[in-house]
Assembly symmetry: C2
Homo-oligomer: 222 residues x 2
DNA sequence: AATATTTTTTAGTCTTATCTAAATTTATTT
DNA sequence: AAATAAATTTAGATAAGACTAAAAAATATT
């Protein structure tokens, strides 16, 4: 069994490792966990001694297979609980993260699989993030940032790069939800803002917003 | 916000205080929490400094109103989660306590009320223990121990004094569940064992078992 | 190549919650 | 009323996880 703190480190390192390919550095981890670099070094040593990650001083860390599989389990729990909170308790998508941060640490071999079944084996959490299954396999669709789409292309909003509450609330105000169809109508040369057309309206979003929307391209042949 | 440890102390002191009326003594708390008396003294001082209980050295402790209301909240959470685990995830009643011990410490003002509503505002947990409502009010029925019933009396099994897994499994083997009707057919003079009649069979239970079954008397006029 | 800056690690401290062993207080016997 | 036993508290230690300040290593700049 691993402590809450250990689990949080593994989870954060996993997501950082996913984003950048290189070894994950101390300061980044510290920032994501709102702690200090020295604390990170301490914990890194502990996790390294337990063979959950490999670590060369000053060279950053990389999860081992064991470390990765623990991180995936925590992520699975986090996302399933988020789904539960939204789908069954009718929370809004910007209200569930903090609660899931706590629920993800509940220890029980059977609990999460029973919850998964109860929820109908969902594939994505309320923010469009894929939920790893029992064996740690993701629903692997390659999503691209809306920023990388060209004029005329269409796709479906499937996930978010940024899931901060302030961004979630912005999307709420724009009435944008996961699974919306989106078409790129125009891209403003000056500031890279994007004119998009949803099922209901056509409006501009900033480059920063476009960057954080993950789209599943629609192949027009289907 | 209170730590898990603080919440566990308050909860245990509350239930002990309920059983015996006198101030709760150190050793009892230590035993219930599987810890040492010296640790209990330490924590007691901390809780006393926070005005959650009153404490005179060597004289045991008594919860303050604040302490009591926190204990009730924890109990409410514990029992609602147990209900969720049995009713929605289909756990058996002897499998839920350990998981609920963890879930009861999840912090969120809205979560437990939403869960309560989702579950249909249940009044009793799977072991027949009353679930305090939002304002800390119990469903107050006075239950009596089956041991105190007389020959010929009838009643309904509504709760257990002992909810240990070994007892719960015993009841499973006897096919006894909450809300069963029970009639006292005879009481053996020699060892106080009780011959009871349920809807399906008639059989003997030991005095010790009788002591731990809580019955709602059936007033025959209704 | 030498210097300056940034990143990371080490050293030492703190808090929370435990523990063991010893001292103290209260309760029970003789 | 002593003496003995039991319950409780104190004293001192330990472990996890965090922090600040200082040292060391790696990068970047002149
Ligand atoms: Mn989240
Ligand atoms: Mn999410
Ligand atoms: Mn329980
Ligand atoms: Mn219960």
């Amino acid at each position: 069994m691993y402590s809450q703190s250990e689990e949080n480190y593994l989870k954060v390192i996993f997501t950082l490792q996913k984003a950048e390919e290189a070894p994950v550095n101390t300061n980044l981890i510290a920032e994501k966990l709102s702690t200090k670099a020295s604390s990170v070094t301490d914990m890194i040593k502990k996790l390294s001694a337990k063979d959950l990650l490999s670590y060369k001083p000053y060279q950053g860390v990389k999860l081992t297979e064991t470390g990765r599989s623990i991180a995936l389990k925590v992520l699975r729990k986090h996302r399933l609980w988020e789904f539960f909170l939204v789908d069954k308790l009718h929370y809004k998508w910007d209200e569930v993260h903090e609660i899931a941060e706590q629920l993800e640490h509940v220890k029980s071999d059977s609990l999460i699989d029973k919850l998964d079944y109860f929820l109908g084996l969902p594939k994505y959490d309320p923010h469009g993030d894929p939920i790893p299954d029992k064996d740690g396999n993701f629903a692997g669709e390659e999503l691209i940032s809306l920023k990388n789409m060209e004029i005329g292309e269409r796709g479906i909003l499937k996930g978010l790069k940024d899931s901060s509450n302030v961004f979630l609330k912005y999307l709420d105000r724009k009435n944008m939800v996961i699974d919306d169809q989106i078409e790129v109508v125009d891209i403003e040369k000056f500031d890279q803002s994007v004119l998009i057309k949803t099922n209901w309206e056509t409006f501009y979003i900033s480059e920063q917003v476009a960057k954080n929307l993950l789209i599943k391209r629609m192949n027009d042949e289907l």
